[in-house]
């Protein structure tokens, strides 16, 4: 888990940041917020009105009934009608409040999810490699939820503030002494809530981080489930997971202890206030400053106020988590280093493209050089094989060709134009990269091949499948092209997945095809068919192929031999075989091994 921001949020800042976050969200969805807040205000106003009705009922119904021994039916009817009216109004306004709050929250969530995932799509592959999948998933899900959490009680809280103002007005008009009790109680309650919210901040942040960590550990472990199983490491993995889980548990208990201390106080204070109001009210009643009706109404108001005030507490209580969630969202939204695409989309006649590496170097962010000073050209329509030992930089060259990364020095050019100047659609249409590990979308075979690219119809799909040697197994699938292949293509074998990704590349009829050891699970025969097919068809593509098989290499017009990130030899296969010993050692390894074996057998015979 990468900590995004090591410092705990300063408590003073927290409230400001939390309120600013809420302000931002209101600006995103002002209309829905207004509906929710208006509903809440009407709702709280009716809550107060109920107090008035209750006070009126006691004064106009109960007391006369007690004094006269008979019921004033008219007054009862008025009371019941008033109760019914306020109830209907309360129901309608409550629906407005809740649906408004929900609609606002869900809209804002969707808004941020769209933004976050847009960033995921725009940021370079290198950025993705630096962030665990689990963290990125949690940014788009849990963090968005955390950031928007205060929105659910927000309209309610706004309504409550409105209600407090109205109630204060009522108290002041009734009696200054009662108003004084309220003036004392509300600020204390608010302070208590604020202190709790800010104290909980660092703990909530920690819990949130740990939750992401638990998620990352779980995700990774289930991703590697086969290895865990094959090596019988279930217990060790469970221990690793348990360690994070227990940290999370302790953090949550920490949050809980704080909550346990504050919540009862926050709940109990308004009740204490009501008792106080009774006491003061009684004194004022005796002096004749207040009527009985007013006394009942005032104490009733204190008791109905107790609950809605909690809504303010909820908003404040959610602030710390929301600030943390918002920060993590902003971290994604603010991530720089987008791969900017150029404006250039040169005209072409549909024939093969020329690929040129000009003094290219690539170093990882930590400074380790993967390749340096690499220069070579794949002439239009030619096939160049990249050969080198494991770890010599071949895959890096392949991803530079398709511009998954940019070189740290030098330039990669297609048809003489720096790839950084090309538009994304032009680049994608020109060059197709087939990676070593096939990636299959959770979709149908057809969608996996077409990817909504224009001009790819079923005829072209079947042709591409045939070229990749995949037509037979796809034809055998129950639903043919409409077969759903499942998440990451789990219903297919490794070789099948690889052939589908090959077919995907071929279906786009690229002018440059980059195969990064993309045929390791494909039968050699199929591989040579693909390559010779590409070479001899009329609209031949240029091919850059990372390969080990001699037959594949032999099909290439030129071989580039990489050693330790540099080109140490170039030429035809025959030239290198004769003139460059490391190359000869690598590609004739099998023959040499066989010869040695035969020699051993002969000498021991």
């Amino acid at each position: 888990m990468t900590s995004l921001d090591g410092t705990a949020p300063a408590t003073a800042n927290l409230l400001r940041q939390g309120l600013r976050n809420i302000g931002d969200m209101i600006r995103i969805e002002p209309k829905r917020f207004a509906i929710g807040a208006f509903g809440a205000m009407v709702n709280t106003a009716t809550t107060l009105f109920v107090s008035y009705v209750i006070g009126w009922v006691v004064g106009q119904v109960a007391v006369p009934a007690y004094e006269n021994g008979e019921v004033a039916v008219g007054a009862v009817a008025i009371g019941v009608a008033a109760l019914l009216g306020t109830s209907v109004l309360r129901f309608a306004s409550m629906c407005a409040r809740r649906i408004g709050a929900g609609a606002m929250m869900f809209q804002v969530q969707a808004h941020w999810r769209r933004q976050v995932t847009r960033r995921y799509l725009a940021l370079p592959v290198s950025w993705h490699q630096k962030h665990p999948t689990g963290t990125l998933l949690s940014n788009a899900n849990a963090d968005v939820e955390a950031a928007t959490r205060p929105l659910a009680p927000l309209p309610f809280a706004v309504g409550t503030i409105f209600m407090i103002i109205v109630a204060m007005g009522v108290f002041v008009t009734i009696d200054w002494a009662i108003a004084l009790v309220a003036v004392c109680m509300f600020p204390v309650l608010f302070t208590l809530n604020a202190v709790f919210a800010t104290k909980a901040a660092p703990r909530a942040k920690r819990a949130q981080e740990l939750r992401a960590e638990v998620s990352a550990v779980g995700h990774e472990s289930f991703d590697g489930a086969l290895v865990v199983k094959a090596m019988g490491r279930e217990t060790a993995e469970t221990e690793r997971f348990t360690a994070s889980t227990e940290e999370l548990r302790d953090a949550m208990i920490g949050v809980g202890r704080l909550r346990a201390a504050f919540e009862p106080a926050i709940a109990g204070l308004p009740e204490l206030g009501t008792l106080l109001a009774l006491l003061v009210g009684l004194a004022r009643f005796e002096t004749g400053a207040m009527t009985l009706e007013e006394l009942v109404m005032v104490s009733f108001m204190f008791s109905v106020l107790a609950f809605p005030i909690r809504a303010i507490g909820w908003v404040l209580g959610d602030l710390p988590t929301s600030v943390v969630g918002r920060r993590r969202i902003d971290h994604v939204l603010a991530a720089a280093g987008d791969m900017e695409y150029g404006e250039n989309a040169p005209e072409h006649d549909g024939r093969a493209a020329k690929l040129e590496f000009d003094s290219v170097a690539y170093a990882y962010p930590d400074g380790t050089e993967a390749i340096r000073d690499v220069s070579f050209t794949v002439k239009a329509g030619r096939t160049v094989a990249l050969v080198g030992a494991t770890g010599s930089g071949k895959s890096t060259l392949a991803s530079l060709s398709a511009r998954l990364t940019d070189p740290t020095a030098g330039a990669v050019r297609i048809d003489g134009v720096d790839v950084r100047e090309l538009t994304h659609p032009h680049l994608a249409a020109t060059c197709s990269l087939v990676q070593q590990i096939p990636f299959i979308f959770d979709d149908t075979v057809r969608s996996n091949l077409a990817l909504n690219r224009p001009g790819i119809d079923d005829t072209r799909i079947w042709a591409a499948l045939a070229d990749a040697g995949a037509d037979k197994f796809v034809g055998d699938l129950e639903d043919g092209l409409d077969t759903e292949v499942g998440e990451r293509g789990t219903t297919l074998s490794g070789g099948q997945r690889q052939r589908l990704t090959l077919a995907r590349a071929l279906a786009g009829q690229p002018r440059l095809l980059v195969l990064d050891d993309a045929t390791s699970a494909v039968d050699p025969k199929v591989e040579s068919q693909i390559l010779s097919g590409l070479k001899h068809s009329s609209d031949a593509a240029s091919v850059l192929v990372v390969a080990y098989r001699r037959a594949t290499i032999a099909l290439a017009d030129e071989v580039v031999f990489l050693d330790g990130g540099r080109i140490t030899a170039r030429g035809t296969h025959a030239e290198l075989l004769a003139g460059h010993q490391p190359y000869a050692d690598l590609v004739t390894a099998y023959e040499q091994a066989e010869a040695e074996r035969e020699f051993d057998e002969e000498t021991t015979a």
Partner: protein
């Protein structure tokens, strides 16, 4: 584990099973409920005090009695203090108990997912599996800490309010309950609708997560093919669908919450009407009626809040259900009870009429009979889809055959204790998964007690010293998530070393060096041979060079074992599958 059954299954059954599987939750539950009851009692302080003050303080026969009022209010404040303390203790207990229990539940579910068979694991989305040990349990915890306690205190409050109301006026109390009962039916009916809405929300959230994970994991492909627009359209669609489902759920929830308002109106109206008559005929005092009106709030508030909490409960219960469904799934490839340990030393393998079909699929292995003697090096060859990998998975008991049996040494594979099996039999799959950690961490995954020196020795025994030394930080080099910092071939090297240090008696390599260059592959292979003495090795061969140096070769074709013998013999069999494969191999590797 379909979402449908979740919604339909009885929430009480889930709760019961959940408590069964987390007995920690039950510990001290009685005391917690007692504290909850005391807390609820605190809510009665205000109305009772109000009644006492009005009746005995204001309308006292001897005129207003200030001393009495002060005593009542002071007493009320003391009771309030006590109940607040009870509230504090209850909350504390609740957090500690629930977090402890749920941490254990997380751990157990995590372990159980690993214990499920490979097939089962693959049938679930990884994101969904992660959700089982994270968000699903989070929901349960949130519910227990907030909603659950609210439910308990609410119920206690309803009971307490009823008791006090009955003391003031039994007639009015009965009337209140007569209004209240039909409303509970209505609430229950509305809950059913809500449950369905929340199930939809869960389904759409998991769809959305899977779309997000695709945009993250498949970032390279999305870039290379310039299909960002397609991916964002899919994302937007799933995000929007999720939003729509959430909105539908909140609408239903608001309406059913409104049912609480109905209760409030109904109860209030009845109290006003009947109360007026009761006061008139002298069977109730003004103070009692006032207190009653207060108590009505106490009575209806929990109903309103309780409805709210029941909504949360729906979510929590279905989350809990999904977790329990995992825990209640018996692993189909299970560790045998009273399983046997494998005898010491190299181990042979026998397949007796072994058949295999994937669930709901056609048979992919059609009766394999083969005997592999201890200490042999066996290559398994065949075209893609011939059944080689299935053979390897059955051999290591990642799956169980659908017919026949596999015998390891003299023990049927299904009778071998997992601890013994996994330490003696190791398989290196083609896509060897690496963990986000250092090189040393990944090697130690197989054997945690290894020292750095021992790891170095392992690398040098396999002729990989140069490679390790070329890494920026040697053994301490961070390999990145899934080994992203190194190439695929290098990942395979690490996987192989990892298997090598685990020192198994039966080593199964499933095309474990397919992305490694030929020279390195041969170096590894001869290094393995040199140290393979006393070990049985089965290699699913990608390159036929392996077959040439093996003691014997198994040739698979379309799910059948068609040839078996030493390379030299098989290659002589004219027009045989193996001869064909071998010719093609020679063509591939020897053409100038």
């Amino acid at each position: 584990m379909s979402e449908q059954t979740n919604a339909e299954s009885n929430p009480f059954a889930t709760l019961k099973r959940g408590l069964q599987l987390s007995p920690e939750l039950k510990r001290g539950l009685g005391f917690t409920i007692f504290l909850a009851a005391v807390t609820a009692l605190g809510r009665l302080v205000v109305p009772v005090s109000a009644q006492k003050v009005l009746d005995n303080g204001l309308f006292a026969e001897a005129g207003p009695n200030a001393a009495y009022v002060i005593t009542v209010i002071a007493l009320g404040a003391v009771v309030l203090g006590i109940t607040t303390a009870a509230n504090f203790l209850m909350n504390r207990r609740l957090f500690i108990v629930s977090e402890t229990a749920l941490a254990n539940l997380r751990r157990r579910t995590f372990r159980h997912i690993h214990d499920l068979s490979m097939l089962h694991q693959q049938s679930e989305r990884r994101g969904a599996l992660t959700a089982r040990v994270t968000t699903d349990i989070d929901q349960v915890s949130q519910f227990l800490q907030q909603g659950g306690m609210v439910l308990v205190t609410s119920s206690a409050q309803i009971v307490a309010a009823t008791v006090v109301m009955a003391i003031y006026s039994w007639q009015l109390t009965i009337a209140v309950w007569i209004v209240f009962i039909p409303v509970t039916w209505l609430i229950k009916w509305l809950q059913g609708h809500l449950a369905a809405a929340y199930t939809n929300v869960r389904v759409s959230v998991s769809k959305m997560l899977s779309a997000v994970s695709e945009s993250v994991v498949g970032a390279g492909v999305v870039r290379a093919y310039g299909v960002g627009a397609r991916t964002s359209a899919r994302l937007d669609e799933s995000i929007e669908e999720h939003r729509g489902d959430q909105l539908k759920a909140i609408r239903r929830s608001a309406v059913s919450f409104g049912a609480g308002e109905l209760v409030y109106f109904g109860v209030n109206a009845i109290v006003v009407i009947l109360g007026a008559f009761l006061v008139a005929d002298g069977s109730m005092s003004v103070g009692e009626l006032t207190a009653f009106l207060f108590l009505v709030v106490l009575f209806t508030q929990p109903v309103v809040i309780g409805t709210e909490t029941l909504n949360e409960a729906q979510n929590a219960v279905s989350g809990w259900r999904r977790v329990l469904d995992i825990l209640d799934t018996a692993p189909d490839v299970a560790d045998p009870k009273d399983g046997a340990d494998l005898p010491e030393g190299p181990v042979g393998v026998r397949f007796e009429g072994v058949r295999f079909a994937y669930p709901g699929g056609e048979e992919v292995l059609h009766g394999i009979d083969v005997d592999i003697a201890p200490n042999r090096k066996v290559a398994v060859v065949g075209e893609t889809g011939s059944g080689k990998t299935t053979f390897a998975k059955l051999l290591t008991r990642l799956m169980d055959p659908t017919g026949g049996r596999v015998v390891l040494g003299e023990t049927p594979l299904t009778d071998v204790k997992f601890s013994s099996l996994r330490s003696r039999v190791t398989m290196v799959p083609q896509e060897g998964f690496l963990f986000n950690g250092t090189l040393a961490y990944n090697v130690r995954f197989a054997k945690p007690e290894l020292t750095d020196a021992e790891i170095y020795v392992a690398f040098s025994e396999l002729g990989l010293t140069d490679w390790v030394e070329a890494l920026p930080n040697g053994l301490e080099t961070e390999l990145g998530e899934s080994g992203a910092n190194v190439s695929v071939g290098e990942r395979q090297l690490v996987s192989l070393v990892r298997a090598y240090v685990s020192d198994p008696d039966l080593l199964v390599l499933d095309e474990a060096t397919s992305a490694v260059d030929p020279a390195t592959e041969l170096r590894l292979s001869s290094a393995l041979d040199a140290v393979t003495r006393g070990r049985t090795t089965v290699i699913i061969a990608h390159r036929l060079s392996t077959a040439e140096t093996s003691d014997e070769v198994l040739v698979f074709d379309a799910g059948n074992l068609v040839q078996h013998g030493p390379h030299a013999d098989l290659v002589q069999e004219e027009n045989s599958i193996y001869a064909g494969l071998h010719n093609s191999w020679i063509e591939q590797t020897r053409s100038s």
